[in-house]
Amino acid sequence: MSNKTQVGDIDRSLYDFRYDEDESDFLDSGITPEIIAEISKEKNDPDWMREFRLKSLGIYNRTPMVEWGASIEGLDIDNIVTYIRPKSRMNTDWDSVPEDIKNTFEKLGIPQAERESLAGVGAQYDSELVYHNVREEAAQSGVVYTDLESAMHDPKYADIIKSHFMKLVPPTDHKFAALHGAVWSGGSFVYVPKGVKLDIPLQSYFRLNAKGAGQFEHTLIILEENSSLHFIEGCSAPKYYEAGLHAGCVELYVGKGASLRYSTIENWSKNMYNLNTKRALVEEGGKIEWVSGSFGSHVSYLYPMSILNGRGASAEFTGITFAGEGQDLDTGAKIVHNAPETSSYMNTKSISKSGGKSTFRSLVVIGENAVGAKSSVNCESLMLDRQSRSDTIPVIDVRTDKCDVGHEAKIGRISDASIFYLMSRGLSEEDARAMIVRGFADNVSKELPLEYAVEMNNLIKLEMHGSVG
């Protein structure tokens, strides 16, 4: 493959071509086939993708709004085009970035240049060099790591993308999957050949730093037989978008005996509706491990799904959700056991404070053919005050009696006795609370790469700041 770094390509986001146009052109209409056609043209879509987008738009228009779970009333769905119009791009200036976001950057110690990029203003942070090096190292082991748009045009990958793109998450899945199919832009394509085990984790962080990526991005990862990969998505610094909708899509194909770890820390700005869809298909003896940290957004719907499709396939889900003031985070996971001797393990923690609401929702399906399947679900919630809410909605659907299924849920509050104990050793009330929360989150942070664990602890500390009142 070419050594040329492709990061610049991401700038050709679907918004750029509208950059100079008058927004009012679109304000009174929904998304039209003309808009989609223009996106296709701008991106130089192959024919099949152009048709795919238009078909998805049709599905989007026919599909009713999501009406369960957290309220998304604040999302201006009749004017959905406003979420994909140019104003949502980065032509805002630093002064218009909300104070809390700026302060967070400050406290996380992120350099000004990167702050501006993360906040969606100013020049793109120069992460190209790091990104380039990672790509080089991956390429040496035969791993393809590139952006989806360029891969689509590469004759070597065109077919594999066509045969996998939105096959796991079809546009018919739900309204926002359809929207994604119509307007997706940016994202990663990773292909790991048979038997290749990549030691360094690949991070989409560098990609998301690129202008315009990250709102409707598509991640497609294919692991061939007996290969392994660790992919890290997002970063713990808050990403600020004026337009408050994120409808990304992640599709992971884990081949026979392959193993994929997919880690995410997301800290969207608190005006964001995060309606994301992630799914993995795991073949015989393969393994998917999800590590998921949800800190940001105003409303989230996020339930990574694992389909265990071959004998002995396994899934592990470790997640933490932290809902603060004004946040309603509906998160969890879905696991479908569709073959014998498959196993799954789910371990989640949710924290709510200052009136935040966190809901844990899980679905475990054990199909008729999943003889000898094992599943264990463990969820714990911690509410930091009386205004906060925590719900647990586990669903288990078992179609065979030859399986082993367990579920455990715990909901608690921080006890006054614990606070007093820590304070009697010199910790301030705030530090005492932060320490308890950090301890509560510990088995999740242990799963994260070190620098992310450190950042997550910083985040917890930040979120806890001012929680004593």
Binding site: S418, F420, L422, S424, D431, A432, M435, R438, G439
Partner: protein
């Protein structure tokens, strides 16, 4: 000896019920006091109130430490002034190791950052005094510790944090003979290396035998029923409370 702690006519309530009705006592620098009394007499209430537990409300009187009025101070500020309470039932904190907790606490009370290497050395030395397996340092704070291990961990904190005054609330109760010996050794080490003051709440003379007790206070029904020298503690343990409480009245 100069006065370190002075509790002046202290009344304390919890949930609108008065538990302590005007307690006065004073502890000098380097002194060892024993606080005794039957269950419910108010010993733990007094200990926790001196430490600043928000569970108890001071409705009258004052607490002075090193000449400063600390009645209104929060527990962390008292800890920074050099107060320490060894809890009867130490709380379990999952996900935080004993070592990381202690290092954080030491930083708070000493006000300076200690190099990890130096801290580990200090911790190791203190653990040796207490016959504690080093692996405890990496275990979650008090989680899954036996009763004896929890009490040892409290004394370990005492040795690391080196307060000016430590209140030991039944640190010896529920321990077997060997564990009491180890805990006593830790307390002696504290006396030797720090020379701080002690208020020992106990029902047991074993922990006292190796210490020279300066003063004994006997509480009954939330009042100081009787005070005396160190010998009084041993007499009470031998003959029971009744005699001494009624004499006091």
């Amino acid at each position: 000896m100069s006065q370190l702690l002075y509790v002046q006519d202290l009344t304390v309530s919890a949930e609108d019920k008065e538990l302590l009705h005007g307690i006065t006592l004073s502890v000098g620098e380097g002194e060892t006091h024993v606080l005794m009394g039957q269950n419910g007499a108010g010993k733990s209430t007094l200990g926790c109130t001196i430490m600043g537990s928000p569970e108890y409300a001071v409705t009258g009187g004052k607490i002075f430490f090193g000449g400063e009025d600390i009645t209104e101070l929060s527990a962390d500020k008292r800890a920074k002034l050099g107060l320490f309470l060894s809890f009867q039932n130490p709380v379990e904190i999952p996900g935080i190791t004993l070592s990381e907790f202690l290092r954080g606490a030491l930083e708070q009370v000493s006000g300076k950052r200690m190099k990890l290497w130096d801290f580990k050395k200090k911790l190791k030395a203190a653990m040796q005094v207490l016959d504690m397996d080093e692996s405890y340092a990496d275990r979650d704070l008090n989680v899954g510790f036996s009763g004896g291990e929890k009490k040892k961990a409290e004394i370990l904190q005492l040795l690391i944090l080196q307060p000016k005054l430590a209140i030991l609330d039944e640190t010896d109760s529920g321990l077997d003979v060997d564990a009491v010996k180890v805990v006593s050794k830790g307390i002696e080490e504290y006396r030797r290396s720090v020379g701080g003051s002690l208020i020992i709440i106990t029902h047991n003379d074993k922990i006292l035998s190796s210490l020279s007790v300066d003063k004994t206070h006997i509480l009954a029904d939330g009042r100081v029923a009787r005070e005396g020298d160190g010998q009084l503690a041993f007499d009470v343990l031998q003959n029971g409370f009744e005699k001494y409480i009624s004499e006091g009245k």
